[in-house]
Amino acid sequence: MSTQKIVVIGNGMVGQRFLEQLTIRMNSDQVEITVFCEEPRAAYDRVQLTSFFAGKSAIDLSVVPERFFEEKAITLRLNDPVIAIDRAKKTVSSARYREVPYDKLVLATGSYPFVPPIPGHDRRGCYVYRSIEDLEVIRAAAKKSRIGTVVGGGLLGLEAAKALQDLGLDTHVVEFAPRLMAVQLDEAGGRLLQRKIEALGVTVHTAKSTKEIVNGETHAHCMVFADGSALETDLIVYSAGIRPHDALARAAKLAVGERGGISIDGYCRTSDPDIYAIGECALWNGRIFGLVAPGYQMAEIAARHVAGDESIRFDGADMSTKLKLMGVDVASLGDAMGKTAGALDYIYTDPVQGIYKKLVVSADGKQLLGAILVGDAGEYGGLLQMTLNAIPLSEHPEDLILPAREGGAKGLGVDMLPAGALICSCNSVTKGAICDAVVAGCTTVGALKSTTKAGSSCGGCSPMVKQILDAELRKQGVEVKNHLCEHFPYSRQELFHLVRVGSIKAFDDLITKHGQGRGCDICKPAVASILASCWNEFVLKPKHAPLQDTNDRFLANMQKDGSYSIVPRVPGGEITPEKLIVLGAVAKKYRLYTKITGGQRIDLFGARVEQLPLIWRELVDAGFESGHAYGKALRTVKSCVGSTWCRYGVQDSVGMAIALENRYRGLRSPHKLKMGVSGCTRECAEAQAKDVGIIATEKGWNLYVCGNGGIKPRHADLLATGIDDATLQKYIDRFLMFYIRTGDRLQRTSTWLENLEGGIDYVKQVVCEDSLGIGAELEADMQKLVDTYECEWKNAINDPESLKRFRHFVNSDAPDSNVVFVAERGQIRPARDDEKETKTIETALV
């Protein structure tokens, strides 16, 4: 067979996908491919375009595999638009080449932003939002502007608004329709979204039609609206919809739709059987698909067809969307507007939390037709699967959107999904394909991602991919030999999940439901820690107290002779003279040994169990809190003196350390957590040896994670650079919660990272890019813990039940005669056995 000449016009996301799909089916002996691309660079991730402002480079955004064009022997002509198609001669001509012949031609020309033709629309300082070049000019213009206005309050408009806000502009959104995201949201949903977005500082003007744009008085432009009002602004970004790039097709007399778009059939062929059209330029059944997933489907179908495979046809695509707009979850799926005859709505609103959820169900109440979620889109994946796979609704459809209630069944297990269920819509990966890949040997999400592509685009499907993976592995009886102990056939991570999802609040319930026997000194403290990380109840409640490890049980560290040490919290190592005096006075009164610890605080040793509450009463009264030196919990946030005093400091490291210590104090985790904050790169706080280390720079904070001193020292890895206070807190929240959820028992963050598939890059994706879509959930979980923090010692001294236990004998007030001290260097120390025998003893009785 002679080689076929293939010409592709456009190297956007869909055109690129076509090339990949074609070259896996045909090799370079069979096809000779030429690609024309109007843009100066090969395909990049337009979906993530906005992250260009967040520091992503054009290279980061590229979707072209390394050396792709060389290896596949494809000719790529960048910066060279095709200007005409000659169907009779079967050639195309571009700005630089004449008459390039084709056997098959593929139009993947995408679309362009629609700019309303109002007078003044083309003034200087008016932009569109589509390519990297557009963003570059907007960024430059923003530097000279104060107010920025986006025309269009749809999906892309709001994304552009977020970008303008991030560029520091006072941002306005002007929408023609009476509400935001009019295509996807109903009235109530749109209103809530508007409220939330306005709360973030963006001014929204709905039901405004712009009449003209003229010179402004105080700013460059003045937008005059039909209702007589006006808005002054320095720059304008149009995001009022897209129009298919079909001019070439029109000129070549291919069939196009009335309102644009190149008509295609089920194989993506245009009215000329040798010419295909795919992606946003194509019109199927009167519809244009402005999302990348349907484009990818078309790319595959066209590639198959060129290669002679007619097995699949395009028959529409789901236009459901889930996204985070300015930190607000918004999702719309299926028949969200309830257009189906007889459709019924279930509506749940929580005005305080700012949540709106609507389910659209069939007239007989048996089928879910669509849904709208604003403020919390956690149920999106499950609901989408129910609509797409027509899974029958239970008796209480409302449970799907109501906050979990006692006994209420929520969501749906992945086991219920049929094999054909589309899990990753970006890459058309079904549940069956994922299961097959697991059978073929993929045992991690990372492996599934590279084998099936599931989860490799928007990442929205990742949680579900993981669930399927786990379910399949379990079915295969894959022994993940990571069981906690003989009482629980689960790893710590799995137990964490069971506790959280099953709302289990007591060890007894957990072992009855998921374990066997009575438990032991391995599983009890581990479960106590999980319960604390999930629900944050007082650890000495009668149901929790017997689970606690030695030290947690008495909220103090047991020493070799059975006495205890006391470590009050000294956030950031900063302490007033008054408080130092209190520590000295208390130590003196109870004759305690005092030492400065390696964690920038003071340890008081030699307290007998019955003295602990007395001593803590005095400390609490003086404003001290538990330092959790006894817990697998946050220990200290070490700081250096920072910019306040130090001549080199560039940020207030002490202030930040105190803020962090106060935020994460009491946080229970798989192992202890330590942090450090240094005021400049000289790193006096040794932050890089901590689980979380922060180093100040001129531009903000550099965040390091997973450092360790101790047994096996490890330098921390850099997670993010130059971030502001809010981002720092967000990333630490996510990082810690992610570790708490997935760490093994007594696994410090350093070993956790070293055992984590994908390593620091994976952590970056999850924490900084929110690749699993659980960022908000992790933050919310952390916030809950922060909000429910209570000082354990304050609780203990005010709780008569707990106090009863701080005695050595149940039937006598006598102290333990075996706790004896001798003097050394002016303080006490435990007597050695030989000293006890010869009775050269000085007791420490008060």
């Binding site: 026997g517 059975g562 149940v810």
Partner: protein, 117 residues
């Protein structure tokens, strides 16, 4: 009786040490009986056991503060210092066959815990 001539059972008295409710289920307390420290454990289901309170590995009087549970069906307490396990019924150390600690007879008498020591 004649088999263990060194132990004169008749000298051992039953002593009331506390109410059963003074012991949180699945945990222990320490009782002082005639100068002797006895760790008394309450296992869920209201069984009680008593062992010497001294941990033979650290010589600290802290056995009553250990976590209780079961290992392969054997009821045990883990020493809070270095975490060796001791059988609640026999006092045998599971990690070291040469080490055994004293056990004491216990009973519940109308809600009161009685120890024979």
């Amino acid at each position: 009786m004649t088999a263990r001539p060194n132990i004169d059972m008749s000298l051992k008295q039953w002593t009331a040490v506390c109410a059963l409710d003074d012991i949180v289920p699945d945990s222990g307390v320490c009782a002082l009986i005639d100068g002797c420290q006895v760790a008394v454990f309450r296992v869920a289901g209201d069984q009680i056991y008593a062992l010497a309170n001294r941990d033979p590995f650290s010589n600290a009087n802290v056995m009553s503060r250990g976590i209780i549970g079961d290992l392969k069906g054997e009821l045990v307490v883990a020493s809070p210092v270095y975490k060796q396990h001791f059988s609640l019924t026999t006092g045998q150390c599971l990690e070291d066959p040469a080490v055994m600690i004293d056990t004491f007879a216990v009973r519940i008498d109308q809600g009161t815990v009685m120890v024979q020591a």
